[in-house]
Amino acid sequence: MNRRELSQGNARSLGARTFWSASGAKRRLRKSSLKATILSLARGARALRGIPAGDLLAAWNDTLAAFLDAASPERQALDSHLLQSTGLSPAGLGRGLRTIGAGMAGEPAASELQRPLRQKRHGFSLVVLPASPPGLMLQSILPALAARAPVLFKSSRAEPHFAPAFLAALGRRLPALRDAYAAATWTGGDETVESAFHAAARVVAVYGTHETIEALQSAATRRLIAFGPKLSLGWVGRDADLARAARGMALDTALFDQRGCLSVEAVLVEPAIAPTFAAALAEALAELALDLPPGRGNAAERAGVRLAREDADLRGLPWYGDALDVGTVILDSDPRIRPSPGLRTVRIHAVEGAPTLDEWNGRLQGVAVAGHMPATVRRAFEHAGVSRLAAAGELQATDAAWRNGGIDLAAEFAGSD
């Protein structure tokens, strides 16, 4: 750890106000050109309406295939930037992108693109992307295409590469998309840019911290869709094959270095098997680190994991782990769930019956399931707002039909007006 690491976020910035159109052109986003940019995006709606679903699907499938193939020219050009910006290991980046994208190709994409949704009026939507995980924009670009809705993607300054590269690749395959999709970066809170875009956007969808969302709520936007920070859990029933469950949970934990909302941060386990499962998960995480090496953790995460281990020691809790970034499993006697500090740290909570999740209403994203889940437990998760239940090892492998937080983005982009 060195001081430079601590300021890399700023050092990696490409500079404020950069704009990429889907034609691949890059320019400075200037105050004087904001109005023209907004008008150009809004006009893109008309061109989108005339694109046959088959053409759209072909372009989508071809582009997505290129971005899931580490040997494609697009990925060859992109990966060095993504590795630098995300800090993921090469294996972690490749596996992560395949996981997030594989379910969005072929039939699921066709179903989505053939939905009878169309944005009828002029106008564009704004999607504010987080710094991680890379490729998250796939979950909003496909619904936007389905609704034939123009979108400006605001990339994080820390990861400004994926969105413009993907849009340019899409534009090369289907030039009619070029005016309707664009990416940009600017510093959050840049009033000049934000007030113009927020006021003009029909819909603003934001992935961000509570602070970011609260700030946007006070801006004059017509429709704000907030994907706030969430975490995911695991559930292990007493009949589960523990070794298999552990391998699955390890993968759901380690993908994207535990920085996604579908990353498992804690596992609820029936009491009789909790200690055995904790040991199995620790072993699975250590094994997985050989295939899926951890990326470049940062000082705050390393410090957070150290504190979690020290806290466990003081409370007399068993924990497993070696190097800080390979994984830590804590067998926590306190049933209350806490966010993980990261670096593949998982707390195991022994839970009898349905868990108490009142504190977490609206803040849980998914549950990775191994073994039988009683109906009362399922209801508790659903009541808490969980929008995805999947077999352990498949939690992060969403497909085009998944509605993050239960929100149908395509319908939102199409709008009722």
């Binding site: 910035s13 987080p130 991680s132 602070e211 705050a300 957070g304 190097a323 966010p339």
Partner: protein, 347 residues
């Protein structure tokens, strides 16, 4: 026990005694009296009898105050951390058996750090709630004690039911726009809210007398405020007539009894002689070289009533005999699919 407490009080008040000996005795006292700490030391192979260097006593993470009762004697005060605005998370609880030791610490540090040399009682405006409003806040305990010791007649608390009373604060400051230097006690958030209010006011700018000071503590606790220390200094000057040396930053927390202070106008924080700090490598918990960042740990003799050796959630870097804060360890905040640029690369 009473003997150790008295010796520590004397060391804090007068400097008499040897820190190393007192610290080792305080660590042994904690092992003897604080059950969870004793068990931790046993597991680490640290025994009461063999402990003669405070550095060998394992530091306790501040998160332990959220789940364990760490009290060496029956508490006479119970302090709780404030938590963030969103709530839901557990709060630290510091069971404090020796509040007089806390008062001794304040007496030994506050005036030197925050008051102009030679000043007696000064007009004080507090934007920190008093003890009636926040009976379990250690900061309010401190503010009350500062009032008792240093406040001139006419000093005021500008605190409303749900926050600070910025208009009362503005009126008070206007009425003290002459003669004697004043002292403002505020959290960083409260001070920024005051500046915002003054900026929106149509009245003429206030010019506080030269030598006035601001005691500023804490961060913004989950508030997204677009501000920087430079911005605060600039607005303090234009709206209150304060010079750049007016602001003294304080670093304290519910889990510690003592505080670190900056020099007036400075950023680097210094601890008193009874609370040395170390910067530890998260991998090894070994002390890092000067200039290398790591986790901040403090050995606070005034924490005799709980645990003296504290491992904080703050990242810092040593610069000579002072430290700079760099950020926070991850842990309490949800981050999934919401990482900011700063969180991804920085920290």
């Amino acid at each position: 026990m009473t003997g150790l407490l008295r010796r520590i009080e004397r060391f804090i008040a007068t400097g008499e005694g040897r820190f190393g000996r007192l610290a080792a005795a305080a660590a042994r006292f904690g092992i003897e009296r604080v059950e969870p700490y004793r068990r931790l030391c046993e597991r680490r192979g640290v025994t009461h009898a063999a402990l003669d260097d405070w550095r060998a006593a394992p530091p306790v993470p501040t998160s332990a105050f959220k789940s364990l009762r760490l009290a060496a004697a029956e508490p006479r005060e119970v302090f709780r951390s404030s938590g963030t605005t969103r709530g839901g998370e557990r709060r630290s609880v510091h069971h404090h058996p020796y509040p007089d030791l806390y008062r001794t610490v304040i007496d030994a540090t506050f005036a030197d750090a925050c008051l102009p040399a030679g000043s007696g009682r000064v007009p004080i405006l507090s934007l920190i709630p008093d003890r009636r409003a926040a009976p379990d806040s250690s900061l309010s305990f401190m503010a009350n004690h500062v009032f008792e010791r240093h406040a001139a007649p006419g000093s005021a608390w500008a605190v409303a039911r749900h926050g600070i009373d910025v208009e009362q604060a503005r009126r008070w400051l206007r009425s003290h726009d002459r003669d004697e230097p004043v002292l403002i006690l505020a959290t960083a958030l409260a001070f920024v809210l005051l500046l915002d209010h003054l900026e929106g006011s149509t009245a003429d700018a206030i010019r506080l007398p030269a030598g006035s000071r601001v005691f500023e503590t804490g961060g913004f606790k989950g508030q997204r405020l677009e501000t920087t220390p430079e911005d605060i200094r600039r607005r303090s000057r234009s709206l209150l007539g304060l010079d750049p040396e007016a602001v003294v930053r304080e670093y304290g927390m519910t889990e510690l009894t003592s505080q670190a202070y900056s020099r007036p106008g400075g950023e680097r924080l210094r601890t008193p002689p009874w609370m040395p700090f170390r910067v530890l490598d998260p991998e090894t918990l070994e002390e890092v070289e000067d200039g290398e960042p790591g986790l901040l740990a403090f050995f606070d003799l005034a924490n005799l009533g709980s645990v003296c050796h504290i491992l904080t959630e703050d990242l810092g870097v040593r610069e000579g005999n002072a430290f700079q804060l760099l950020g926070r360890a991850t842990g309490a905040e949800l981050r999934g699919c919401s990482l900011t640029a700063e969180e991804l690369g920085a920290a």
